[in-house]
Symmetry: none
Subunit: 191 residues, 4 copies
């Protein structure tokens, strides 16, 4: 039974999604500033002009992209509602996933991190991101308190800094960084 044209269309990715998919690849490879709208459009298989039907500007595209990435990362990291308390298993999971996800796709993460370090780019994205991250910080602090740490907020800050450092090194040098052994150290120390 042949599909109708309409159905066929629906099966394809929407143009908007094609653009986002292309943008993440291009931004990750070239960096935000060195990526051209034309390169993104080409990769997405659409015209430059069309991009402006979906995104007001290159900046807005980055913005929407980053928020999407954040959401997806958070889903991967923490399938758990941060309003609930974290169990030990959650934290072990957090550590393992935190390392593994980066190793799977160092390039995307580089994009993600680099945004925080380029003042002009960070400004595009800051507000929304901060608001998304806070609940997870709170839940972690609660976990360390539960665990009997005498300074749980400090421990949470330390832990999240350490995780970022590990992820950074995984990104920069995914080939030689001893990720498995480091995960063990982390679990022993924090979970």
């Amino acid at each position: 039974m042949p599909r109708t044209k309409k159905q066929f269309e629906d099966m394809r990715k929407s143009s908007k999604q094609k653009i986002l998919d292309a943008a993440i690849v291009v931004f990750a490879k070239e960096g935000y500033h060195s990526s051209t709208v034309s390169a993104i459009a080409k990769k997405a298989g659409i015209s430059q002009g069309l991009m402006y039907n979906y995104f007001k500007s290159k900046e807005k595209l980055l913005n929407e992209l980053m928020i999407g990435m954040m959401e997806s990362f958070m889903n991967d990291f923490m399938p758990i509602d941060p309003k609930q308390k974290f169990s030990r298993k959650d934290v072990v999971n957090f550590i393992n996933l935190g390392v593994d996800l980066v190793l799977e796709d160092p390039k995307y993460w580089k994009l993600y991190f680099s945004v925080f370090l380029q003042p002009d780019v960070f400004a595009i994205v800051m507000d929304k991101i901060m608001e998304m991250v806070q609940p997870y910080f709170d839940a972690l602090a609660a976990y360390f308190k539960e665990k009997g740490e005498k300074d749980p907020v400090v421990m949470m800050r330390y832990f999240s800094a350490v995780m970022d450092g590990i992820q950074l090194h995984c990104m920069i040098d995914p080939k030689t960084f001893p990720a498995e052994k480091v995960k063990k150290i982390l679990i022993k120390q924090f979970a």
Copy 2:
């Protein structure tokens, strides 16, 4: 009567330094790509053209700047020849300085870190930096071995990742990051 050789040399040195000083501020504030040569020249109080007397291109300027920063950081970090073994005191020093220096000048460090995360920018600088850093890594590994760690290279990689994570968080949020307490944790764990 022309100026003496020495006079010319002093002029060059002073102008070049003015440019480097301006560049570090502008790059750190705007990011590499968003910084314009004209803004750097203006900040340095010289003409755009003059910059090209001292640096073949904007890229070379970044390159020389980064190498200079690296050298100066290394001097601050480790007044000790990395070919000698590190003592416990050296490592304590390393930790304290590593955090304090970032807190003193978060902007410069942001530049430093951001370079590692922008593939196109990192390429400008990679070779030389890698070569400079290696001896310090070796000395750290040797220290952990001495200390009886059973996997000193892993420990060294872990330690340097952790340090970078701490520095990253100091940079992003110097006001609320509990730097002093974190230093204590680090010293207890690694030194």
Copy 3:
């Protein structure tokens, strides 16, 4: 509704031709180096940026322009396939046209000649031109051989040098150069 393929193609063709037409005038008048892209765009009635849609650089523009000129000259000169033998009539035609075309448009020819005399400019264009010209040289040599010259290749070289000299003088001083009388001398001597 987007334009059709054909519409786009027509637009491209027309814009490209506008640029080429403008470029030949400007290059001929100012010389390659003294011609600015902005002057060419202005003359063509388009924006500077658009030029780069059609030509990767000023150099490529010259290159394509010269090749186009060559082709058109060759068509005018020799409506005959150079792989066929030249008849006496062809050579008479060659001489007459060679002089007349220059007198019609001394400026274009100045551009053409000047390219051969500026090493840096010639380099832009050399390869392609040489390859286009060779068959005509061969056909001329064959003609002189047929005619019984004992050293046809030398004669061909001599003839083409003489023609260039005549054209050069027509160009530099189209008003007082005795073109008609010189044509007669040439025909008597070479055809």
Copy 4:
């Protein structure tokens, strides 16, 4: 007997001459526009600034250079006062020298010719040159008249065009142009 310092100085080329010598080499190699004052100064072994003590501008330098070249060429070509009548031997000599000099130094001649073909460059030099050349044209016309040509001025124009064509080809392709055989043809035809 040791020379005094003064004598030593005199033995060196004057700075002005050094600049002219350097300029001819650089202009010939790079073309006028692509030659930089700094490259000329470097080749001359003096500072950029000094050039402006001797020549008001790059243009003036070209101007003086070309006039010097012209004078020297004319001396080589025609050691004879053009106010005297040319003998057959003079013309033979003219032909031989005209070809040989070009073959000795094709680069310098390219510079010389190219000036005539670049409108902006030619303007720098035109007036003086024209005035120098006229007497030789007159003497040649007189020679052809003597020789019984029925249209001696046309013959003179033709001859000088032919010579320029030959020289042009010698310049462009000094290696394969059959200069010796062509000289014989020329002598037979014109002397």
